[in-house]
Symmetry: none
Subunit: 194 residues, 4 copies
Amino acid sequence: MRADARRNRERLLAAAEEVFAELGTEASTEEVARRAGVGIGTVFRHFPTKEQLLEAVLVARVAELADRAEQLTAAADPGRAFFALLDAVVAQARSRQTLSEALAAAGVDATAAAAPAKARLRAAAEQLLRAAQQAGAVRPDVGGDELMALMVGIARTAEQTAHDPELQARVSRLLVDGLRPAQRGSGSAPASPR
Amino acid sequence: MRADARRNRERLLAAAEEVFAELGTEASTEEVARRAGVGIGTVFRHFPTKEQLLEAVLVARVAELADRAEQLTAAADPGRAFFALLDAVVAQARSRQTLSEALAAAGVDATAAAAPAKARLRAAAEQLLRAAQQAGAVRPDVGGDELMALMVGIARTAEQTAHDPELQARVSRLLVDGLRPAQRGSGSAPASPR
Amino acid sequence: MRADARRNRERLLAAAEEVFAELGTEASTEEVARRAGVGIGTVFRHFPTKEQLLEAVLVARVAELADRAEQLTAAADPGRAFFALLDAVVAQARSRQTLSEALAAAGVDATAAAAPAKARLRAAAEQLLRAAQQAGAVRPDVGGDELMALMVGIARTAEQTAHDPELQARVSRLLVDGLRPAQRGSGSAPASPR
Amino acid sequence: MRADARRNRERLLAAAEEVFAELGTEASTEEVARRAGVGIGTVFRHFPTKEQLLEAVLVARVAELADRAEQLTAAADPGRAFFALLDAVVAQARSRQTLSEALAAAGVDATAAAAPAKARLRAAAEQLLRAAQQAGAVRPDVGGDELMALMVGIARTAEQTAHDPELQARVSRLLVDGLRPAQRGSGSAPASPR
DNA sequence: TATGAATGAGTCTTCATTCAT
DNA sequence: CATGAATGAAGACTCATTCAT
């Protein structure tokens, strides 16, 4: 029976993510139940409050990103690794509109539920940041707080431009370029060698 | 009585802005009425739909920014003028959380009502951008589309960090620095001389 | 100034009739004002209550019919005159959907305002009825009460079939035929020589 | 739980019929809920729209009449059977003021929901009509369209005179007498031997 | 444990009526 | 007298949450 329950939980989470991404946070709980193929009662058994359901979705988002960050921690090129994390942020935002809300929750809100995932993400991200800075790939005057806030900004902006991938890429590059050291050689060429 | 009506309209707009900033877009029309000190019927006389009320608020926001941009158009130093516009975006976002929604509406939505204000903002912003680029203060590979999207991103991020002005300033600088030309002399110093 | 006021009253009455016929009794007073080209306040100055406005419209309807009935009183052929009144009922119902409500009000309700018009209509109609009965054109076992109720029924039914004039004519004839004497000669032909 | 739901649906339908008959079609949904002893939400769960609730009531009315008509189809005396149907119309109208609106809906509107009941009523009524005509009890120059329209007229008129059963009976007889053949024997006696 | 019917507070919106100009 | 802005009660409808089955 536990297996059944767990499967329902997964289905609900997936459905909720889909629904909230599609219809926004104001979508009804009933719609989530329908999409998950369960009764309304089941939703409330698993997530006693709509808020808790939303929270669970957002936590899942952040956790994915934390996974990715921890994974990148083992990469060879620190600069590449760091910017790959930012790419992941953009990529997630592209597909799911709930990401920025998730990140916002992780960065600002002190929701108990989000805390662990947030902590993991922050730890790994800071590690990537420091390594990249030591390698000279990122400005030295950037700290963890800025990084977290920046990730939110990047995600929000990426969502905003989700309709035009070309534009999205250009804008994301601009935002990210602010992190690079002022000076990367010579020329007057723009600063995105990637 | 026209005077009375106009005053009420102003009051309503102000109250609506305040309420939506404070409680989000989902705040009730009744709350707006209460805050404005008028009956519910008065709100609907002036703005026949909640959507139209919201629209009016957002348009006002964008219009303010457009005013500022047009004003900056006459400034002496093109680089300074351009970045001053971005400062204005941050400043607005600091005080009112509805700005980014307003900008999003202006940049993406094709709301008829927002169109004129949006057009003004874009025209002035592009003029500032081009001048700044010619003066070598901004990367040449940035266009109007990116600029509009970026303004949304800056506003969103600024809102996110509204609780910590220090952090907000640092993050905003990072975002903005992505717009500067890669190269401004020598040193390895970070790129925000301001 | 009195002339002005009277003209406004006429315009309002005309507009109200039009509006109520078109949109039903639930149409808003504001719509009536708009159609009459006056302010809302003016409507309420002339008719302190929506109910009174409606009443006035209905009374006007009944009064017209009473006029017609009184006029027919002077006709040569009593049978013809009587059935001409019923024709007038159908004709009115054809053009204005408010008639049956008006007649209903006149027949059943004891609205003070409707009383005089109702009384006139009834007096004239009964006179026509008695004359027609004496001429052998109408069943003798029909009284004023039945006649008034029947007029309502005819009007209601006529409204119901307003979309199909052909059908309306046939049904009206059926209803009216019930009033003719059972037997007027021989044949098995139906009883509508008209 | 299905049992519970069904019982509530019945209660709602009954309450709605009562309420609409008493207070008219403009009665509030809330009143229906109160009368049925359920919460407002329950009304809207069963009938997602006020219109649908009304429709359901009207359909039920027409269906009852259709039942009666079909039942009469098996009667021995065709004339008696036919006029018994008209009696049923009057009887229903006596107790419930919503009947005529129901019949109107069935006769004129093309509401999808009412269609089946309407079709049944019309089929049975026409069968009764034809049989009565063949038996010489009803004028031959009457068709289904007139019959349906006439039923509406009868119902409307019956409602109008609901306050005075005596008068109602007399008026109904008049209306119905229009359907009898012109010639039913001899005398100058009025034509309602029943 | 899953289900979905029931609940009712809360939302937007309409409209008759009042009243300051 | 006319105007039309203001008012607020009332109505249809939604939705998170509870609970009987």
